[in-house]
Symmetry: D2
Subunit: 476 residues, 4 copies
């Protein structure tokens, strides 16, 4: 949804698929609905029946794109779906719809992809030089081209050959007329799980919360580097790629995933609470009340409260009707900004020493507004605690982030940031504290946005400016 004050990093996709279920498209629709937080710009479902690929894709929320008529048209017992977040407001959006559906020499093929390739632009140029044409700006089209170019005999072998040529993050659900193939990149950057639904149905999803909605049973995570082929011949697992260091995106725990999902066996809600508790331990403060910045800051604030013994209160109320259609009127007098979405309850803040818990600071402007609002509501002291380390580096693995220049933490010390947001104190959880809270080994995760240590090397040693250019697109 449109949110005038939202500075968060944004996930770029959620994927879902159902194999061997009479209501494949209906279940996919519900699955995408549960994954809506991973992408609100567009959605799509492709089903296949008797070699015919039925497609509905459109801009907007899942509930806007699909009505009964669209769902009814999506016949077949196999379906894959996709939700997408997109930053570019231009007309490219209408071209960048997923799942991609193409016709190839070997028949139809649909792919839904969460992630971003590091050598996507390079491969694109290579393919173009070879004579390929591109109709979107999505890396997914690169994968589809490479698959179609492969001379291997089976769909899975062709897909393997294609994926061996790319580097980057991908959680893929691909479908031809017979089978669904699920792949997670060797680093396992983006999440992907398998479940079982109905008597014989198999379901694949970015997160487990979508399994719950359709009353599917969680089966297992797809492993980094694993390809699972689900076909009339059964379900087979392969590890066709060179083994890589596991590097699961730690930010999924901090912000992206829904709190009722489990990622690699760790429940997100519990993880956030533990991070909050660790934050309380690392950066304690004498205060009267712990207040989350809703909604994403709630679990870590709760953990902070439980660990510190300082009471938790929902002192900031979020307007539930903030949506894409809201137009802030052109006021001569003032811009109401963050107040459109959030309101500080003076009865909670009056005269209090307050700890505000949030998950991240991106540009800092929203944090600054919230601190000011909270002071105007009567807070005596405002201590800001952030349940992630400072975000100093952009992501190139499928998350929409500002460029390095726009990230406040990339050019400011914590002390400078504290001044900027006008807080009495500002503390971030440490990288060590983060992994300690997750009870996890740092080596297994990607935390490049905090550390700048990118697990996948860039082609030709590009510098920061070029990294930024990598995010630009040909189309507008």
């Amino acid at each position: 949804m449109f949110d005038p004050t939202d500075e968060h990093f944004h996930d770029e996709c959620g994927v879902f698929g159902v194999y061997n279920h009479a209501e494949a498209a209906n279940l996919t629709y519900l699955g995408l609905y549960a994954l809506q937080h991973r992408g609100q710009e567009s959605g799509g479902i492709v089903s296949v029946q008797d070699r015919i690929f039925h497609t509905t894709r459109g801009q907007g929320l899942v509930a806007d794109v699909f009505k009964q008529r669209e769902l009814d048209a999506l016949e077949g017992d196999k379906a894959i779906g996709h939700v997408r977040y997109s930053t570019t407001g231009g007309s490219a959006n209408s071209r960048n719809l997923q799942p991609l559906v193409v016709d190839t020499a070997d028949g139809g093929l649909a792919i839904a992809h969460n992630g971003n390739l590091v050598n996507g632009t390079e491969m694109r140029r290579m393919l173009e030089r070879r004579g390929s044409i591109f109709q979107s700006t999505m890396d997914t089209e690169v994968i589809v081209h490479l698959t179609a170019l492969s001379r291997e005999n089976t769909f899975s072998d062709r897909l393997v050959e294609a994926l061996k040529q790319v580097q980057g993050a991908y959680a893929l659900v691909a479908m031809d007329e017979n089978q669904i193939i699920v792949v997670r990149d060797p680093h396992g950057l983006r999440p992907l799980v398998l479940g079982k639904v109905g008597e014989k149905g198999i379901v694949v999803s970015s997160e487990t919360c979508a399994l719950n909605l359709i009353e599917a049973q969680f089966w297992r995570d797809v492993e980094p580097g694993e390809m699972v082929v689900i076909s009339p011949d059964g379900i087979r697992s392969y590890f066709p790629f060179q083994k890589q260091k596991r590097s699961f995106c730690v930010f999924e725990y901090i912000y992206f995933a829904r709190p009722d999902s489990n990622l690699d066996g760790i429940n997100v809600y519990n993880a956030r609470k533990a991070i909050g508790a660790k934050l309380a331990e690392e950066s304690p403060v004498e205060a009267d009340v712990i207040i989350p910045v809703p909604d994403s800051g709630v679990p870590s604030a709760l953990g902070f409260s439980q660990a510190s013994g300082i009471p938790f209160e929902l002192g900031i109320i979020r307007n539930h009707y903030v949506g894409r259609t809201f137009i802030e009127p052109q006021q001569q007098i003032r811009h109401f900004g963050v107040k459109i979405k959030l309101n500080a309850n003076p009865h909670i803040f009056k005269g209090k020493r307050v700890v505000l818990v949030d998950d991240s600071v991106v540009r800092g402007t929203t944090s600054r507004k919230i601190v000011k609002m909270v002071r105007a509501a009567g807070a005596r002291e405002v201590h800001v605690r952030i349940s992630s380390p400072p975000t100093t580096n952009p992501c190139f693995y499928g998350i929409d982030t500002p460029t390095r220049q726009e990230l406040l933490a990339s050019s400011h010390t914590v002390s400078e940031m504290c001044s900027y947001i006008t807080a009495d104190s500002l503390c971030y959880i440490s990288l060590e504290g983060l992994y300690s809270a997750l009870n996890a080994k740092r080596v297994d995760y990607c935390d490049a946005c905090f550390s700048g240590e990118y697990p996948i090397p860039f082609p030709n040693q590009v510098g920061d400016q070029q990294l930024t250019l990598l995010k630009e697109s040909f189309y507008k």
Copy 2:
């Protein structure tokens, strides 16, 4: 928003008005946006400038009804607005838009009304016998007719004469070409507050949360039975009606109002927390975790947790994208019901003795589904605690409630209800506990929905069946 599992009582309106501000309509739009929880079916704003009444009214959320074009057309430094909830799905909705705008012998007149008249139908019949015609099913039209019929000299006197003939609940904002008049019924059943905005602007609102959004200063509550006339001659207060026992709707504290609003000086969030704490005191239970049914059960669950020392957890996650456009696909196999909206996080429930805190039980079907979902998520025991007394009687003062027959509590003991919803225990707060938590005297409130003690007598001593009929409408 459409909510497939929402059985709550529903407020029927929110009102707002701005006097003497260059951006009267813009501020009214923002005010209605902050009052959206009081009515999501339709919205409207009327402004007046040089005797011309500009009107935009429509079905849907405030953000859907008003775009820049509509706002631009609402010229003038005076405006009033209205949001409305409506149960009837029929075409009557398109006729029941507020504010009502009419032309009378004394000029134009616009009225926005929150509440319901007890003698509305009777007065309607009387007026019809006199030759009046009705174009809507709203009681507000009765008040407008009576105002137009009055032979008094001033708008305020005509409105007084009209209101003296009706009994019931009303929080009114009326506007003619020169002034805005604000009236609250002698019982003060529905809330209404005054604020100041800009240099000389006056604002009126159902709740204080709307003042906060536009950065208006809260001035004071409108008193029961008070009429405030805001005109170029200044602001004058009158008490033209026979004094009545104050009977403010106690359910506003329990569910209707936004937690960041203050009602008669009591903060709603604090009130809910205190009710939760009292509930913990009245109906303690050995448990491992306190879980609110989101979103309305959160503050009372927090109060219950703080009072009982049992940890509070957000174990049930609400899908933020539940909206009016969502179509649950026609599944051959199953109906997903409450899971569309709520998901129980198994990591929180597994093996736990759980206290579920909710604000009310209406028909009981949703509570039953939630208890079952929570058990399926692994809860060992499920104790339900309700932050209101059993709702045994319908409301006739402006709240949309089911008929008595549909209210589970009207025909079932608490023990029977506990069985029905399959909980291990079910407890409601007592009436005494409720007022104790509010630190208030019961005599000042209306709690007819719990007690059946209606503060305003019905004309001709009608029975329950007739009460039900009173809620029926002529139109479909």
Copy 3:
């Protein structure tokens, strides 16, 4: 439809009704569709079943307002409908929807009205003084008020009492829970016909073309001053009003009605052809080709051609896709105006002496553009022939016309107009010629827009300026 070049007078309404047919609303929908040329701004249908009035009204074309869902909801074997043209672009449109539906002491009541009252404003003021309120700016609301105020015993008697108090033009279709009542004003200004449909169904319509579409049989015209009561007791005809000179609107023949309709027994297409023929006789010209201005000028051009022996050619092509949604782009360079809609085929015009036949000249700007376009297409001479006399006076009987000042003919001689539109010659049919062509007596018709002889006197002898004011409305 929106038409950037349309200067025509506009009919303000079409009415339709069906009694005693299982598909009353469906037939009414089709009827309104056939009457769409009489009003494109809004449409509505009311059906009644078991005392419940079902209503759908909305802005836009009939096909936009009614979808299957709306039609399905319009249950009952009686229905009335309305299409409306409206000039005011303001928000008053959303209030001025017809049929009006009201609740009165005697039950529900719906009215659809084509026409305009001469004493509407006066009666409105009188009713307001009495205490009545007005929610629209339509004269129809006056009639409804008067009906509701009547103390007569039957609906028909109440309606008669109401109509005896008003002067002006009305073709009315009224409906209560039992019957449909059809009335045409004593002058018979606007058309109204009866038909039979199905086994026992009765249908009423502004024009006969709508009977054809639903395969109803034309029965007869409603007579001026006649009231037809169609009820379970049968069909009864009354003449309750003082007899007046018949004054049927002659402009219906010239422009308003569809060519396949018959008005008072005269076929409109034939009438237009006869007028064209008479025009050829009155104002002959040596020319090579007769070209109609499409679409309304076609029959008279054909008549002109057949009478003169000069060949008829469709030399100006109309773009069929001109519609309300068309946005002419904001061009830096030029405004394409009439060319958006009409294109002159140079192959027809090159070197020719052309007679352009049109039905009227209102402001003259469009005629001027067309003449210029035709010259640019190569015409050697352009002779304009108009199948109506000069329109010098506004209409107060239900037709939307510009004020007198805006009517080119009110302040210019034919010679001056000819210069203005840059034609080689300009001739209008004479009043005598017009009636001669219709084979009719002038005394039976209203031709006030040509002659200024208004058949219904205005209250208090108002002057022209006041006449204009009569057209202004309270609301915007």
Copy 4:
């Protein structure tokens, strides 16, 4: 527009382009609007500025797809556009939008195409075998692939190399960041003209009527087999393909083109009139009146009337509001079919011997309904005259036609068809008469739909069934 009774053959596209004009996209929008009759299912415009390709494409009429916002976004002094007709109601439509825009090794490229390839499927399979992927079912994508695969140095040379590999009909407008290239296939099957607009602007269009609207000057037809390269280096003409027999589609004269367009120097309106006159000569009949089936039958009926001396009358009235949104209500009783659109004026038909003139008979069902309607309106005799020879064969060059089996004339003699449509007589113009009327040599035209003599041979000598399959698509 949706037309419940329209059985016509449908043109599949119109193309338009503007080079070197500050308002390129605005002019293209107006041009497409004038070409709307060539395709009502979808429309699109691509402009280019500083190497950025701006695109808006959508389903619906031009006026629906483009609003001011869309037009404003289409920056640049070069633009091409497309309107498309499509039979398939399935979701493939959303993929088959034109102009196609792709990124290639040589930069961006946009193509708008009218026509159909004979070896499109074959080339598609070849390209797929080579590894190419297809995202639409349009032949245009084949051309784009071939262009991208070419290793020639310039855009024009690459396009030539691509087009040399395809056989079929194409009128192409292609654009890269610097130039617009216009090509017409060697047979010249589909029309394409050049014009000049403004000081230095060049415009290309399917028909001349679109030049008129934007006040461009007609310059000349693009020749069969000609490629015109419009670039900063000037305008250059090439004939890079092997010369072929000219075979311009004769049906463009009969039905497709707008009457105010000129095709290869022949005015369409005049052509139709001449065909009607020839038809009168070939198949005279004693009758009282000549009636066109509107709107397409009008010019030939006029020609028939002028040649025969029998009066022409517009006896069948077309409802101008027939549009895509019209829903015929589900009637228990009857289906109104053709009457929704056409109404026979009984005053014209009563007792008359009627000649109905139409342009073609496809399945025959509509003709049958019209004859019956005309008899019901009172016609004594109904003689049907068709201004084309019997349509016995499908088109494979860009026109949407039914399969051979569905064409009434493919399996019925004229006498049988006459019986089927219940006419008193039925005559078609002869092939010889057709060309005589056009004053043209048959050898220069394609009349395969009448004669079965296809000017472009099919690959591998396919039979009729395979021809039909050629029209099937992979997607639904």
